[in-house]
Symmetry: none
Subunit: 451 residues, 2 copies
Amino acid sequence: MSLEKVYNYIDAHEKAFIEDLVRLVKQPSVSAKGEGITECAKLVEGMMREAGLLTKVLSGKKGNPVVYGEVKSKNSSKTLLFYNHYDVQPPEPLEKWKYEPFSGKVVDGKVYGRGVTDNKGNLVSRLKAVQAFLEAVGDMPVNVKFFVDGEEEIGSPNLEPIVKEHKRLLSADAAIWEFGGTDRRGRPQLYLGLKGVLSVELKAKGALKDVHSANAPLIPHPAWRLVWALNTLKDKDEKILIEGFYEKVQPPSKEEVECLKRIPFEEEELKKELSLKQFLKGVSGFEALKALLFQPTCTINGLLSGYTGEGSKTVLPHEAMVKMDFRLVPNQKPDEIFEKLVLHLKKCGFDDLEIIRHGSTEPVKTSISDPFVGLVAKTAEKVYGERAVIYPISAGSGPMHLFRNLLGYPVVSAGCGHPEANTHAPNENLKVEGFIEGTKFIATLLNDFAQ
Amino acid sequence: MSLEKVYNYIDAHEKAFIEDLVRLVKQPSVSAKGEGITECAKLVEGMMREAGLLTKVLSGKKGNPVVYGEVKSKNSSKTLLFYNHYDVQPPEPLEKWKYEPFSGKVVDGKVYGRGVTDNKGNLVSRLKAVQAFLEAVGDMPVNVKFFVDGEEEIGSPNLEPIVKEHKRLLSADAAIWEFGGTDRRGRPQLYLGLKGVLSVELKAKGALKDVHSANAPLIPHPAWRLVWALNTLKDKDEKILIEGFYEKVQPPSKEEVECLKRIPFEEEELKKELSLKQFLKGVSGFEALKALLFQPTCTINGLLSGYTGEGSKTVLPHEAMVKMDFRLVPNQKPDEIFEKLVLHLKKCGFDDLEIIRHGSTEPVKTSISDPFVGLVAKTAEKVYGERAVIYPISAGSGPMHLFRNLLGYPVVSAGCGHPEANTHAPNENLKVEGFIEGTKFIATLLNDFAQ
């Protein structure tokens, strides 16, 4: 039984694996600020080579490098591709971290650090599954390809030309997406799609410089302009007011509704973790889950104007800005939504605002009835000893559509995370136990995919 | 003619006066940071004694010391009080200064330094007028009192109990407020009042911590709550929507309208300085001036929520805050406006917001028909050889109401500044010529006030 050898190898190398993970976490790689990107790409390539892969850096005309790696099976013609990313979210607010965000500190069976779950832990786990096969068995059950993005956290704005240019290199029979994990009761979670996202920034400008607020009757107020503009975008009932925003939105299919009903939604745990008496608009149970997965949104990510220090300052700031994202559901296109937004602001009289488009990705799904979904679910149930929880789509986003739609193979997201991982938030962490179990799951999937 | 002797003394001592001013400017006294306060209060007291005044430090339970000084006339029972302050604004941004902000460097007939006009120049000018009488004539035409605040630049939050405790000590027949000067054509400017101000902060809170914006359909959005709440406070036409906000506001009286019409409003210079094509709502001329002086306002001083760095971050922030000030016109009370604000937010369904009250001062005016106003104007015209420009009220704020209302005497603001003095901004400066002329003006006023 080659899989047993692989499991043994993984168990015997737990400490070394975690050391490698910590090494990667210690390397900052904040794409939003361009911090540590080159260094991190180099480190990832090095770790791939150490695991036994051939590597190549894929660079577009602009943007951060993609690290590509592959290893061939001697006996199989099937290929599984892993999509991961080495870039991480900004660590701010720094004062809310228990440990330095790039320390990779290991405490009570958890590794702490920005990006440790999202997505360095998943990346290392998959590399280690490959290494385990190569070291313990001397061959891979299937061909494996790694595609490690460097701009996922900023919406992968430069990925499409790279994927298009390397269509043959990236051909595969199926792909495993970057994230996933187990729920609070240890049930493995699989995600069959992603919402789209469109990130924008609005800037309002007034006088040449900040002035004393005594001048308020005469001098334009950019912060007020921004408030009024924002108010036209969403009402107090959370309804997005941009004309035609909802026109392509579809309710979940019968099959998806059935799938939703089987999801044990851990809503009380989530409310407790976030100190919430109830969810937005009082939804709960099936309705909450349906909203989470099938509802498009408009979120303020950041707001800034003028004096934000202690006490008060009678200043009239000369500029104000908001950063926001729209989460989009299947059939909504970021390009179309951006156009509608621009048109809306113009119609409402806010064409004085500067509108900056940041990253965007399209919504995407793989069908529940795809055989690859059944295979991943069966493997997960075997490894975790629990029924797999299948999400027809995830509330998150990413460039999955380039693989699912452009390259045309099924994509399922499954990984080694856990519900209190604090991704995108202070004190992001990954359980060592989940990491090891997740590595075994990936190894088993490689094995089963060959059958 | 004793006044001639006084003028001669002032002319003969120009160099020594400027040296004293430079000495005071060299002593930092930034109340916002508590920098150099004790040292500066001591220096001011020393300079008062050198000028021939008896001094006393007035301290409240908290806050910076007030420096009090007085000198009695042998023949007059009339008393004039001068309100000044020895604290200054923070000098930042430092890189924008041509000379060190606390250097007191004299270049081309101007003294440069933080606080040289606001308010150390005015203070020294008044002290020197007193000194000139005492040295050149051997007596004062009237009794003189100095009240030198140490917290004006942070809203004088601790002044009321001090004034209340020393009502008898601070009794007078009239007062001259801290600031004023001549316009670009050399016309002296007098201000008969101040707007009030009320500074508040609103905080919205959501979940216990920031979460990934993928959770947007379920998790409360404090930044949106804040936007919606703000939107209920002021509409796109700059109308403040708080119930009863305008109920005590009165239009300028006939007398004040006449007064406004006589003000040569240098609006093109202001627009050019701020790179503005037009003022808010397109007002200009008389309408702009009326708005500036007689319109209450609601200004966003600062806005903060979530991620405000480079690029984008798909975060749903768990809190959001706004700092804002209301400028109030006569009859509007900060206490009442604060109550109305609280009630308004409650009525509009925003009682989840935390409302923090920062500093406030009341609006205040002295009537144009007050004989003291006529006296000051007449004196100014005599000294400057130009018609005095009378502002029935200033757009700024300060603790003037404590003197005008609590102690009950007329207050007029007049000083030795000029339009390019850059108060509250880098390269603050005072013209030596204006300083000497202002000192003669104060001396003449002391003389005329005795008549």
